[in-house]
Symmetry: C3
């Protein structure tokens, strides 16, 4: 059973499955679906036509994930837009903002005060720190670590699979250190790291480790004289 | 109250909030949500699972917009696909086509006969002229001006923030003049302008102002001998 | 009339229009819309908030397609995520996986065991072979041929229109031969071909035909010494 507090505002045709926890002063939009086991803390706002708490599928072409019974947890004060999908096994911190059409997979953690942009995608097994900004349509691949205060520009692309499907499960995404900024539509290759406070120019292709506190740009990305 | 004309076709479980204006011969798909105050003119067709007339949120990480009470207006003959989100304070001209999964923010104007492609995104405070084509997955950032007859190829990326979040509210997107054409997956930097009838090659990175009537390509984009 | 087998599991507020065929052991999520004429074979699983079987629109700016009455067919064992849109006139093979937020147009065929990633888009008149992987946010343009075992990395962009809207209907997408692999965020120009087992590096711009069994990278993409 799901206990719905009197302080909740729930839209028309919303579907709240069983064993969902709903905190105080939660707003849920029309047609939104909240699947079994999801935990929504106080003062969370959710838009219309979302699907939250999706259980990862099992497919012979996809990785098996260990802990299928860990719920989706959305901490207090977070705002979620419209037409958003989020999987179970993920924890969204306090006062996070998640834009419309965004999608967040399982085993992800997002630190407080971070922003996940419109139509941005965060794949599985990824950690995003506090006060990060992931802009519109950016793609954060699986097995990725973003420290605090990282800025990912719009349409940035990442990969975690240097064998492009030829080897199973040997996957490692980028590691982006505190305060680094990635320009729009840059491409990051699997397993590279980007040092703290480094800036990567728009449209760059980052093919190797990049040290801290510099500016790089180009294809492949090289240090700029600044 | 919303007055629904007899000529309207409204799908199952559609949610039409109060104070919505619906013209003659309007079609609204299943599960679509039309929020308070939206104005839909004659002969408009809207697909399923859309959310129209979204009020901009107020978030300490996001800009405040002046006029929260300006409605979304969709002019006559416009067709909107499925799973689309559009904000209030925006005006969509006559006979516009908006593809499935597209998202359009507040304070946007789109001129008549323009096409906004599938999963394309138009951010806030942006003006798009008449007979423009914004192709699939293209990203039109905020504070951008597209004159008439502009062509934006698929997956084109733009930015309006040269400080990447480091300074507040000093934002300027590209200005693209009449008849210019931008190739697929090109990256446009903040504040640049592209002259009329100029062509930007696919995958180019445009880092500065580009004159009219030329062809540019590369990283960074340079004039081609044609 | 639609005959719903007793073995089907249908979510809340799902809308199944008339003349839909539903096989045995089909699962349909909450709020999903299945439009008239769609054929869903045995053991197909469909998520929430999808729209399946969309009839192509007729618009003066868009191509007319010949056979409006060919249904969407989803073969046995295929899994479809949440918030997905698929058009009529398309055939999805057996045991295909289609990620959340993906969109597939009319006159498309997808071979068995292929994966269409999260938010990936496949445009009209395109053939995708068996055991292909189209990763997250990739864009497969119209009039494109992918042979079997092709890997398309995340955020790859393609175009089929070398005149960028200036000529009508002279459209040809890439042809990608068996076993080729395209790195993340690469840009493929209209009409180019990529030979079998060739690898295209991340962020490359492919401007011409590429032979088989080589590695290319850069802007424009050139053969690497490997």
């Amino acid at each position: 059973m799901t206990n719905m507090p009197k302080s909740a505002q729930v839209g028309s045709h919303a579907v709240i499955e069983k064993d969902v926890h709903i905190g105080e002063n939660v707003v849920i939009g029309h047609h939104t679906v909240i699947l079994q086991g999801t935990k929504i803390e106080d003062n969370v706002t959710i838009g219309c036509n979302c699907v939250l708490g999706i259980k990862p599928g099992v497919n012979q072409r996809m990785r098996k994930i260990s802990s299928p019974d860990v719920p989706l947890v959305i901490q207090a004060g977070t705002r979620i837009g419209h037409l958003v999908s989020i999987y179970s096994g993920t924890e969204i911190g306090k006062n996070v903002f998640i834009g419309d059409h965004a999608s967040i997979r399982e085993n992800v953690s997002i630190g407080e005060d971070s922003v996940i942009g419109r139509a941005a995608i965060v794949e599985l097994n990824t950690m995003i720190g506090k006060s990060c900004t992931i802009q519109t349509q950016a793609y954060v691949t699986g097995d990725t670590i973003l420290e605090d205060d990282v800025f990912i520009g719009p349409c940035v692309s990442m990969s975690n699979d240097k064998y492009m499907g030829a080897k199973d499960y040997d996957l490692k995404g980028p590691q982006i250190k505190m305060g680094a900024k990635i320009g729009n539509n840059a491409s990051l290759l699997p397993g590279i790291s980007i040092g703290s406070n480094t800036i990567v120019g728009a449209g760059s292709v980052v093919t190797k480790h990049i040290e801290a506190n510099i500016v790089v740009a180009g294809v492949p990305a090289k240090k700029m004289n600044t």
